[in-house]
Amino acid sequence: MRALVLGALRRIAITIPVLWAVASLVFLLIHIVPGDPARQLVGENATEDQYQAVRREMGLDKPLGAQYLNYWQGLFKGDWGENPVTRQKTLTRIAARYPATLQLATASLLLAILISIPLGVTAATHRGSMIDGISTLAALLGISLPSFALGPLLILVFSVQLGFTPVSGSSGIASLVLPAVTLAVAMSAILTRVIRSSVIEELGEDYVRTARAKGLPESRVIYKHVLKNGLIPVVTVLGLQFGVLLAGAIITERIFSWPGVGSLLIDSINERDYKLTQGCILVIALTYVAVNTATDFVYRFLDPRIKLD
């Protein structure tokens, strides 16, 4: 138990410099704006007084060091800035949208797992056959199909032609189906490949031969023994892919007008609300780091031979 706690603490300690660097990168973003971000925000027609007021409000009149310090203080105090025009708080706007993004990403993740386990296992157990070839081809297709072409196609068929689901928005479970499917396709393709490789590797192990020699039915060998071990490496991929889902959600949310952090990010860019853009990027990146750290813990629980370092 003590080793586990120490391992966990060590893993969190490794995350700290990464978090610092991620947050610092986000801070620096506003300083790569060509010209002056305050000028960009108020536009060419603003008076000098208006420009100076916005500049002061954004904290851009202070030296870089002081801005950096204020940024960190703001992060810890929960003061992530506000829109200079509408006075809406950045953190409040993000908090209102965050659950929708998590809902979409989680639904896609579950859907991808449901699709990829039977596909990956079937491809592995029929290695070299036509089923395996089709599964490989389908996986490559899934990775290559742009969500912003697949999404409209799904809406056209299932919402417009068949009337099964709403065209856009987030009104109930039915409206979650198409965005979740759109987002899950690429991930299912990747997961299918990983599960296939992992199961193939496990099928060559001694314990599988023993299980078969004992006369266990093949389905029991696969689903009770092979899959249990074969899914361990898949957990890491799931963690990494969750980040891809979060990023992919930016596009999917735009296709389906899904009210998540991704569509808020694009709104903030169009509104030139730099604080909000920074906030959205930071939240997505932090979620990604948190999910990957959590994945490492799960990985450790599933396979005690692996040490957290």
Binding site: P17, V18, A21, V22, L25, V26, L29, I30, I32, V33, P34, R127, L137, L140, L141, I143, S144, L145, P146, S147, F148, A149, L150, P152, L153, I155, L156, V160, R193, R196, S197, I200, G243, V244, L246, A247, G248, I250, I251, R254, L265, I266, I269, N270, Y274, T277, I281, I284, A285, Y288, V289, N292
Partner: protein, 269 residues
């Protein structure tokens, strides 16, 4: 070479040709000429892929869209691979603290951002243009090459022939150029073709979000976004550009996947 890999080479080659020969296949005037009375027209014998929401010829715009796709893809692969190779080889070959700073910290930080998010962030603040798009996608792209080359450098530097070369007085630069790089070319080609697929998809995605190529240059991703209001009344406006993106990405994935299997028959088999 498997039929899928061959198909990949044929499609990718055709797209590169389409991009290179686009001025001969359609004039810039055709790309831009608007005929509002003929907007959203379905494909016919004069306009093989129909017309868009401003009555422009969709086929001509798709041909010119290939230029942007290939230009961005090739530039991003070139810049990020050179950057990644230099940093990766340096990190792996030097080892010690240099390696700890690069692979233990810098690689981790860049991997802590979902790639496209960092690209969106950069273009959001730099402003949309082809140049900024290439910079942003290269900034997220180099890490993959760097990790690959670091692993290759770590492996190859322990080989006997490298020890022998060093014993004969060969310098670091000589060992890197003559031994480490030639032994890493094959996985590098695989990474580059998969990187090309990723860059094409990312360019289209960024353009779809309004963070890619600005008007009047046609880009496949932007064509889909611009026609948003007409997706269901004139589906050819998103289907044809979508098909082109899928074909381009698929062809480079076919090549990368085929070459990877050839390179390492144990993998995935």
């Amino acid at each position: 070479m498997s039929p899928i890999t061959k198909a990949g080479f044929v499609i990718a080659g055709s797209l590169v040709m389409l991009a290179a020969l686009s001025p001969l296949l359609a004039s810039w005037d055709t790309v831009q000429r608007q005929e509002l009375t003929a907007r959203l027209e379905a494909p016919d014998s004069h306009h093989l892929l129909g017309r868009d929401q401003l009555g422009r010829d969709l086929a001509a715009r798709i041909i010119y869209g290939a230029r942007v796709s290939m230009l961005v893809g090739i530039s991003v692969v070139a810049i990020s691979s050179v950057l990644g190779v230099i940093i990766g080889v340096f990190s792996g070959y030097k080892g010690g603290w240099t390696d700890r700073i690069f692979s233990g910290f810098l690689f981790n930080v860049f991997m802590s951002f979902p790639g496209i998010l960092l690209a969106i962030a950069m273009v959001a603040f730099l402003g949309p243009s082809i140049k900024n798009l290439i910079i942003a996608l290269s900034v997220i792209g180099w890490v993959g090459y760097a990790r690959l080359m670091r692993a290759q450098a770590l492996k190859v530097r322990e080989f006997d022939f490298v020890t022998a070369a060093r014993a004969l007085g060969a310098g670091d630069f000589h060992i890197i150029i003559k031994h480490i790089l030639p032994n890493s070319i094959q996985p590098l080609i695989v990474q580059a073709s998969l990187g090309m697929a990723g860059a094409i998809l990312a360019e289209a995605g960024m353009s779809f979000l309004g963070l890619g190529v600005p008007e009047p240059t046609p880009s496949w991703g932007k064509m889909i976004d611009d026609s948003r209001e007409f997706w269901f009344t004139a589906p050819h406006l998103f289907i044809f550009p979508g098909l082109m993106i899928a074909l381009a990405v698929l062809s480079f994935n076919f090549i990368g996947d085929g070459l990877r299997e050839r390179l390492d028959p144990k993998q995935d088999r």
